[in-house]
């Protein structure tokens, strides 16, 4: 630990850095970063001015306590069950990749990648998503067909907004189909999966927006956007869910140098929403129909809706020309699922905490994905293409909602599955308790014993109530003499003597429900 005077010196100079940035009207992000450093230094001094350990997790990360883990497990199980229902295998890749594997895949977002320190050897970076490692895996193993899911943590040096479920370390749950198949069949399955998962998780009403990169590019072309501005204008369109059209237009014209006329034409298109009918109308649109790319995208959207009708999911799906998605690697259909209603829970929380309604309600997109037919080829020495389409479930935002729900609910979340506590009614029965619990464990029964030589019966029973353990096996002198165990139901306090020979089957019978 550092010396007190040294830290006080560091606080002083860090304070000056912050003041300087403020006077220079630096970006909020930059100032926040420096203020955080200042606070970290101050925390080292502690209340009494003594040097202290900073006891925290890194910025933008969190621990999961047992209750949060129980919720997490439930959500994961729902998602994995769905992925398995659709026949997916699973793979895993390392948490870090060679730095060059990630280079050139994320456009402007590359600055958010965590690099490892150069300690000799290879240059490494933490994975930014699961899609690029998947593409690297396919190319490296020359796999041309696979349907796989991958659930793992990814890392982004982003500005965290943890109350809304935005972290620097967060889980992604990805399902992808790689292979050369007939158009829109795997794509439709991805949307069916989003529909199934959001339905099962019961998070309230939702919409799945659908668009196609080829429609966007075609639209940009017929509106007079120069070729080299497609990607940057696309990034601006992507902000329509957070900014008004006026602001988006301003950015296009003032910052990106687009003509006002072109921007206005884009503005007309990106306000359009509909279903298969909209795709049909746009195929007749005198401007849009001039773009071959747009027509290919629109025909595929029509086909997609046809398959989605067979899956009975079109009630939640909207063809939305304003959907752009940030990532560079998409080449065809893209989609994003958003929750559309403030859940009852958020409203309640808001009333309780006086939190900003926007903050607690808009958890943003909870799933997204699309087709990326070119990514695997970027890794193949001969550029061989493996067409891919996939979806990523934004699990952290879903956790946030589920946690709020659990907190608002009177029901208690159990964090263990213990079926029975082995207890004693008198002193000096530790050995008998250990012998009995060993028998139960060997029979596959989930059991606990208190780690005391002579625990009080009351404290053993209280522990059961707190932990939600339904049964207690009580040993006493009399029970040992009679060759029985007193089986107590915690909820009803009902007790019955069971012979040692029948105990295991009796516990199994009572806890099987």
């Amino acid at each position: 630990m550092e010396d007190k005077a040294q830290i006080q010196e560091a606080i002083k100079s860090q304070g000056e850095v912050v003041r300087k940035l403020k006077s220079e009207k630096a970006s909020k992000e930059q100032i926040d970063e420096e203020v955080a450093k200042l606070l970290a230094l101050k925390a080292q001094l502690g209340d009494d001015g003594k040097t202290q350990f900073v006891l925290k997790t890194p910025k933008g990360t969190r621990d999961y306590n047992p209750k949060q883990m129980a919720i997490r497990e439930k959500v994961f199980n729902t998602i994995i069950r769905c992925f398995k229902r659709h026949g997916a295998e699973t793979i895993d890749t390392p948490v870090f990749e060679l730095k060059e594997t990630l280079t050139g895949k994320y456009g402007e977002d590359s600055k958010l990648i965590y690099d490892l320190k150069d300690q000799g050897g290879e240059l490494l970076s933490l994975r930014y998503d699961l899609t690029v490692p998947f593409a690297r895996y396919l190319a490296m193993n020359k796999i041309t067909n696979i349907k796989r899911y991958h659930i793992a943590k990814v890392y982004r040096r982003d500005n965290p907004a943890m109350t809304r479920g935005r972290y620097r370390e967060f889980y992604q749950c990805d399902f992808d189909i790689a292979g050369q198949y007939d158009a829109m069949i795997p794509d439709a399955e991805c949307l069916k999966i989003v529909h199934e998962i959001l339905n099962e998780l019961d998070l309230g009403d939702f919409r799945i927006k659908v668009n196609d990169r080829r429609i966007l590019d075609g639209m940009f072309a017929v509106c007079g956007v120069p070729d080299d501005k497609f990607r940057t204008i696309c990034s601006t369109v992507d902000k329509l869910d957070k900014m008004s059209w006026e602001d988006v237009k301003k950015e296009m014209v003032n910052e990106k140098g687009l003509s006002e006329e072109a921007a206005d034409q884009i503005g007309e298109y990106v306000s359009m929403q509909g279903g298969m009918d909209l795709a049909e109308r746009l195929l007749q649109d005198h401007k849009m129909s001039q773009s071959k790319q747009a027509c290919a995208g629109l025909s595929d959207i029509k086909l997609l809706f046809k398959y989605l009708q067979l899956f009975h999911v079109t009630d939640k799906v909207v063809f939305d020309l304003s959907l752009a998605r940030g990532l560079d690697y998409y080449t065809g259909v893209i989609y994003e699922a958003v929750l559309t209603q403030a859940s009852a829970v958020s409203a309640a929380n808001e009333a309780q905490n006086g939190a900003n309604a926007e903050e607690s309600v808009s958890v943003g997109s909870v799933a997204g994905g699309g087709r990326y037919d070119g990514l695997v080829g970027m890794f193949d020495p001969k550029g061989r293409r493996v067409p891919c389409v996939g979806v990523s479930i934004g699990i952290e935002r879903i956790f946030s909602i589920m946690e709020q729900k659990a907190e608002a609910s009177p029901e208690k979340v159990r964090t263990t599955e213990v079926q029975i506590m082995v207890a004693s009614a008198q002193k000096n029965l530790l050995e008998e308790r250990l012998q009995l619990i060993s028998e139960l464990w060997n029979a596959g029964i989930k059991a606990e014993v208190m780690y005391k030589k002579n625990p009080k019966l009351l404290s053993q029973l209280q522990y059961c109530e707190e932990a939600g353990i339904p049964l207690v096996a009580i040993l006493g002198e009399q029970e040992l003499k009679d060759g029985v165990v007193k089986l107590r139901v915690v909820a009803t306090r009902e007790e019955v003597d069971i012979s040692r020979a029948d105990l295991i089957s009796e516990i199994k019978r009572r806890t099987e429900a």
Copy 2:
């Protein structure tokens, strides 16, 4: 990607680095590291001398393919089932910690910690184990009682030996009991858990070695080791499983400066192995009994064996005075489980591959742990102690063995759980297939359909054979007219018409087994 000439220049100068190191007789480790860099550079040139991407995972890491994941899932399920049977909750912590959280916890091994690059903000390191993050979690949340398991990846910049299951990124499966309890009860449960898991995984015979840091320290004291040399002599003793006593003695005397007499006395003790009787004998030993610490440790070993007898696990447990364990933070009982026989599989593999017998047989320790009563206090501003004891299952070595077993077995590992394939016997039935599979998914049935408009029946049936899918639902013109589906059993080729109304219950009935 870099320019060809630039890379050739780099290869040339790297070649000189290697030559220089060799001429200077540098360490093998150092030379290997530089040779690896040279090979990586050469790989960039590719066969045709064009610049190329290096398509690999970072040194010491690996991907898990679907088959390996199926094995991993099976092993994890066995372990988690055991942890849950013993009433453990689970937590999770971030993959990286503040650098200072890890500082001063691992002794000489600290050099193996991965640091993140300083990109502004906090200094971070990848976790080295799950124990230190657990202690940080307890101190930060002021938790004084918990029984938790944690399964996650940890990171060590070690020299990988991947054929023997030693990686730089690897899983740990930790179970720990924190709290002030009566002596040796939680400690005995940890050993019972190791016994249960190794039994269930069916890896062949094993031994669990037990010792106590207090016995080691007491032994060092009575043998005349100076106080300040306890930890370093302990590290040398720890090498007895890999080095002969002669070499260990040499290191003690020549490198660590211990007197020959003291070394010889230690040599007598560390050759001792036994059970409760050995602990009793040593309590009477005229030298050992002079150390209060040693006596406290020996009494606890006696108590431990008493509890282990009640658990019926003493057949596998050995009190072994040569067991030292590397980590600094242990304060009481320590243990380590090793597989004691070359499994039939390794022998078979060896014959096939001509591999070194030692290599394929000695997978080393598969579990280890001990008591660390001081670690949590290191994180508490007021130094409050939370006694802890725990065990870590060395899962990668277990994976290696299970993978070898699976490869040697004629049985096929299934990587999905698909119950039925929805197929068609004629052309133009895609819509009917999609409609039917949607019904099956909605009923919770695991089903697949081929992503082709008009797949051949034969290729659909072949896919089922390869993937181990037991049933096929075949649609044809006639079946559609009759309102039935032809249900085919892949193994027997038996076919039967089932009405659409009964299909779901029939599939469930047939796949419930």
